[in-house]
Symmetry: C2
């Protein structure tokens, strides 16, 4: 008979203690295969517990396959003939701790957005209202492409502000650009060869790499991606940033746009991915209209995101697909639900509908313009040792250093002053020749005072 | 001289009206290539507007590449030599309107969850608190694998309730199972061949199909996936539901689990994907422990989701990766940010930490058990014309009809009574032989009364 010590002070009920004891006895071989267990009545008497307690323990052992029950004969230990032969394999230790990064009081990151930009008060207000006055809608599944209300707001916003022409049916809202790119690459097919501007928006390059896609770097001239070079390549997808080339800041003129669209129209499987990164920010004149509007969305896939203009905590990006790809999307991804939180979608819809988004963008544009102007003013004090380009738009300017020092010297001197700089060389898929050391000077996450101080320090060490 | 009609009542400023007029004249060829534009001073006088208005319009036209400025010579229309030659291509019309589905008062869907299950009150309360008393954290980016606090709660929950053994460093929280599967398949490599149980959890089968992965169907016997058949296949990945096989409800006993783990340990690139779908719900005894706990997470990828137990509006699933795959994840996806809303993560963390989740699961389990019991009681009135299996767990039972009628007749009779049924044949990758018509009878989204009424109606027509 099994003698099991039952602990009445344990938080585990008796049946579970019995179950665990027998399970472990079978696991370590003390109870051998085919061995008969005591009847539940007998064990219950022996342990002074109710019979149903033992029955429950036995039922669990049966359910998990440790013992088997044979009518009229009783319970027997199952045949678990193979021992688990775990082969010990050594893997590199997993550590989530990243090496501590040096802290820089002046970080001129070209991609950084100011955390203070977030429309905190309005967002909280709308969140509260969505939660308090909701009829239960925000707790149901979203439409797979994203809530219709939000897609309609996006259509209006994109038409009025970006010249994008589309219907809500062609919009897909997803949890971040990487996710949307995963969907898109599947739609474009395994054998797509992607041409990217070089220098490039590296996050997209890394995404393509992560997803094992071949990338063909194409030079950028004063008009953006070279269509001649693109034509000579065997790429069928061109990834471009026509409104404000990242990182050089070139605007693609209408003549180059036409060439590029004609390239795409030449073959049915050619497409253009227009990443409309940071195009909301122009400090002179009107925004440059999107390429997508020029071809009425036949060949251009338009991509945008709220993470930069609202908050990276709000995981929401969108893409506008041409009808041809939309049909494929409906076919391939028909079982894929939306990846975006319903609550965030509800908040964002009202944020746009009630004018908060536009006001927020205007506020942000004014703040960025002020910072942009301070940065330019301060950098002009370097006189003819610097040349500036990519001005009047976006969240950084491009600085060429025509003075004596090398890129390494400039970086090192800046570092010693607590200034983190981003040389253009880090934004190249393959090295490009530059006459002078070139830096991307981001101004979005530094205040006017910090910009003034930072460039002031730079002037002391850059000669 | 250009004569432009300026509308003082338009909501468009004058500079924009001038810009649009000239742009359209260039586009439609009325202003030819290389043609000289009037000087800004001259045009300003002619139109009776300020010179800066014309300057702004010209600057925009220059920025977009319609005209060029030559110092001392003036503005000229750019060469836009290629006309945009759009090839009209016919695509199937895109329509978001799905064919209207017939409404069934009694829908025995095996996957449906009751919308009323959502812990609405508590979730709203926690949402409000997270929004009101937050220090700004919820508006910053999340850690790429998901917030550490939430991953720690998950570790505790999975250890205590599912016997899963892992560290927070091995957990990845993502926006839905499909997204996580996309990441996982990339980690497992292009040439992975995936074995699936047949009959199968079809949503996962569709996901594999959407992502162009080969699936090898493997038979299911009383102990789950046949490891003999698996060994004969050239699959290197086995996708299984060991705690409660979907759809047959078989629990994989410990002997089969050992065999399966030994199969995986035989080759370094073999892995097991354990989908722990609905394992929270057992109405007798303890939950069946996860397979992952048996090998200490060396070969088993454990996947779970909150969408079924909390709400499909909360887009949150998770996977536990073995160290070997975790190292690969860190390498490949180092630039991929989290896909889950920070606010939802904050709410979920508190939902778990403060015991709401456990109470919610208990409440749900009790409600499902009551429905399960009513369904079984009602179905037993069919006497020996039905055989039930997959009972005491999950959100459906499996019904075999041993009476005279065919599957089509049974379905059609039910349909006429307003009853929607789900035959097992729809859950098969390749047809499997069944002696009798078999149905999955879901009870999660019907009340006890509805279940009683529905089965009552079925008894009138199923003879």
């Amino acid at each position: 008979m099994l003698t099991i010590y039952l602990d009445s002070h344990s938080n585990k009920p008796y049946y579970e203690q019995i179950y665990r004891y027998i399970r472990d006895e079978i696991r370590n071989g003390h109870l051998a295969c085919h061995e008969k267990l005591p009847s539940s009545r007998g064990l219950a008497q022996h342990l002074n517990v109710s019979r149903s307690t033992v029955d429950t323990a036995y039922a669990q052992l049966v359910a998990e396959g440790y013992i088997e029950s044979f009518p009229k004969r009783g319970y027997f230990v199952s045949q678990i003939d193979e021992l688990l032969n775990m082969v010990p394999v050594a893997y590199p230790p997993v550590s989530a701790v990243e090496p501590q990064e040096e802290a820089f009081p002046w970080d001129f990151s070209p991609t950084g957005a100011d955390a203070l930009n977030f429309p905190d008060t309005y967002w909280r207000k709308l969140s509260r209202e969505c939660i308090n006055y909701d009829d239960g809608t925000i707790f149901r599944s979203s439409e797979p492409q994203g809530d219709m209300g939000l897609r309609q707001e996006l259509v209006n916003y994109l038409r009025q502000n970006r010249g994008v022409s589309c219907s809500p049916d062609n919009i897909i809202i997803g949890a971040g650009s990487q996710y949307l790119m995963m969907l898109l690459l599947r739609l474009l097919g395994k054998n797509s060869r992607i041409a990217m501007e070089n220098p490039a928006y590296m996050p997209s390059y890394y995404t393509f790499q992560s997803l094992e896609r071949e990338v063909i770097p194409i030079s950028v001239d004063d008009h953006g991606m070279s269509v001649e070079e693109l034509q000579k390549s065997d790429a069928n997808i061109a990834y471009v940033t026509p409104s404000h080339q990242y990182p050089l800041g070139v605007v693609m003129p209408v003549s180059r746009r036409t060439k590029l669209l004609n390239w795409a129209n030449y073959e049915p499987d050619r497409y253009i991915i227009e990443d409309d990164y940071d195009s909301e920010f122009r400090y002179q004149g009107r925004p440059i209209p999107a390429l997508q509007g020029m071809d009425q969305g036949k060949k251009v896939i338009y991509m945008g995101s709220f993470s930069k203009v609202v908050s990276p905590a709000v995981r929401m990006s969108y893409m506008v697909l041409p009808d041809s790809l939309m049909a494929r999307y409906r076919e391939i991804f028909k079982t894929f639900p939306s990846t975006v939180s319903r609550l965030d979608q509800a908040i964002m819809t009202r944020f746009m509908k009630e004018g908060y988004f536009e006001r927020h963008l205007n506020r942000l544009r004014n703040r960025y313009k002020a910072r942009h102007d301070v940065l330019i003013r301060e950098l002009k004090q370097f006189k003819d040792r610097v040349r500036l380009s990519s001005i009047n738009a976006g969240s950084y300017v491009v600085l060429e250093w025509t003075g004596e020092m090398t890129e390494e010297e400039l970086l090192e001197h800046a570092r010693q002053e607590g200034i983190l700089l981003y040389p253009l060389s880090r934004f190249c898929i393959v090295p490009t020749f530059r006459m002078y050391p070139t830096f991307l000077m981001g101004f979005a996450q530094l205040s006017e005072e910090e910009l003034q101080q930072g460039i002031g320090r730079l002037r002391r060490v850059w000669k």
